[in-house]
């Protein structure tokens, strides 16, 4: 019997990495991709300027980086801002965003769904409903098909 039958290390080889036909995305690392500015958002939240905080947190999304920490931090910050809104204010806040921001908000909402915590899913569902009314199913399609996840 050959010695090879003992080791099963080959099972952990990722064969897709060695496929020469593998589709590789072009990586353009954009500037300002570090995620929203925590200090700025914190400040606005403490002042009670929720709309301002929302706009601030939707700036500089970490779309192009492979840095998972940046993405995690951005997501937590976004969920914090979204949770601090009153239910009745959500609709107006979504109304003040432009198309691209609504798409970005949808991306953060779905990312938030992936890791639910405490009451986050209920809040996110309310935001989802309002964002859907503005963005249409098209915004959800863009969340599903985008190569650059937030």
């Amino acid at each position: 019997m050959s010695k090879n039958t003992v080791s099963d290390r080959f099972r952990k080889v990722d064969v897709d990495e060695y496929d020469e036909n593998k589709f590789v995305d072009e990586d353009d690392v954009g500037e300002n991709q570090g995620g929203p500015d925590e200090a700025e958002v914190d400040g606005l939240l403490r002042q009670g300027n929720l709309n301002g905080a929302l706009h601030a947190v939707l700036k500089n999304p970490p779309l192009n980086t492979k840095n998972h920490n940046a993405k995690e931090r951005a997501e937590l910050l976004v969920v914090r801002v979204l949770s601090s809104f009153k239910s009745s204010d959500i609709e107006k806040a979504v109304g003040s965003l432009d198309k691209a921001d609504v798409d970005l908000l949808m991306k953060y909402i779905y990312r938030g769904f992936e890791k639910p915590s405490d009451n986050s899913s209920a809040v996110l569902l309310q935001w989802h409903e309002k964002a859907l009314a503005v963005g249409g199913v098209g915004s959800i399609i863009r969340v599903l098909t985008t190569r650059k996840t937030v």
Binding site: D25, D103, G138, S139, T145
Partner: protein, 399 residues
Amino acid sequence: MSLCSFGVEPLSCHAWNKDRTQIALSPNNNIVNIFEKKGKEWVKIHELTEHTERITGIDWAPESNRIVTCASDRNAYVWSLKDEVWKPTLVLVRINRAATCVKWSPLENKFALGSGARLISVCYFEEENDWWLSKHIKKPLRSTILSLDWHPNNILLAAGSADFSCRVFSAYIKDIEDKPGPTAWGTKMPFGELMLEHKDSDGCGWVHSVSFSASGDQLAWVAHSSISVADAAKGKEVTHLTTDYLPLLSVLFVGPTEIVAAGHDCCPFQYTYKGPGALEFVKKLDMPKQSSKTTTSAMQHFRNLDKKATEEDSTKLDTLHQNSITQLCIVSGDKAKVEKYSSVGLDGAMVIWEFKTGGSGDVFQKGQRAADNFWGGVDDPLCSFPVLGCGAIPHTQTH
């Protein structure tokens, strides 16, 4: 509009003959059925059974009366009508994955075949050996080709593919044609030359369908969440419009500035393109019929609420098509001015639409029921749907 139901299987693809009396379509299997319109009915006159796997593309050349079909069995056949029988000729496409789409060129001396093998096969007939040969376009395609369209000059070919890009290639075959003159897309056009490559920066998904305008200077394509137009006359500038709807699967230029697109929303949409930066949604082209609400008894009402938590008892969509539209095809007119176009969908129905430019105010008229259900025994769910007209249309107009 008139709807014709060809059974319950989805229709993968369809093609019309020159005078639009016959239609070739495939009900999601390896057979092509050719139906002829006899009076108000569509009667099956031929069955083309050479493929062994699901047919993915059919195209019928109007002048030379040849049909080309391609399927997942990695083959394509060119069919010619001899003595009332369609005889197939195998085409050597030399692909090792399924073929996905096929289109005759405007002069019908060659056709292009897209495949999952990440290449486009441009096939032409070689007289000496009496067979169809193919030349491959490989670079820089990175994934399956999903759709093709020819430029009116018979040389340029647009391809939409699953690597999120739309490209225009030159498919000039020097054995069978003369050197082309310069066009707005470029001047040097050797075989396989890339004239335009556009990748959506946000990866807007696969490019499902492409369509050149009548002049060939504009190219429209639809991706998962957007519709775009590239304008060669204006420096190949690309105008992009993200949609709020479900993905569009098929697009067609119906006039110099009008575009019709349809997809998973089961309804054709009209867009207008007036120049770079001016791509807009106009309207939905399928008006939901005024459904006569059948009066349900109070008992029925509460029973519905109890069992199904809903007040209505209908699962039918408002649109004519009950499932996604997969392909649009011109029926009458040409790309410069389309009068009628047809759509087939996953619901097994083929609908012929009339395209009218301008006109506001949709008039509902009780029209004649034009739906035929083919397999008999099954009641057609769409009964007495209104015939749609815009503006002043005489009642006597027939489809």
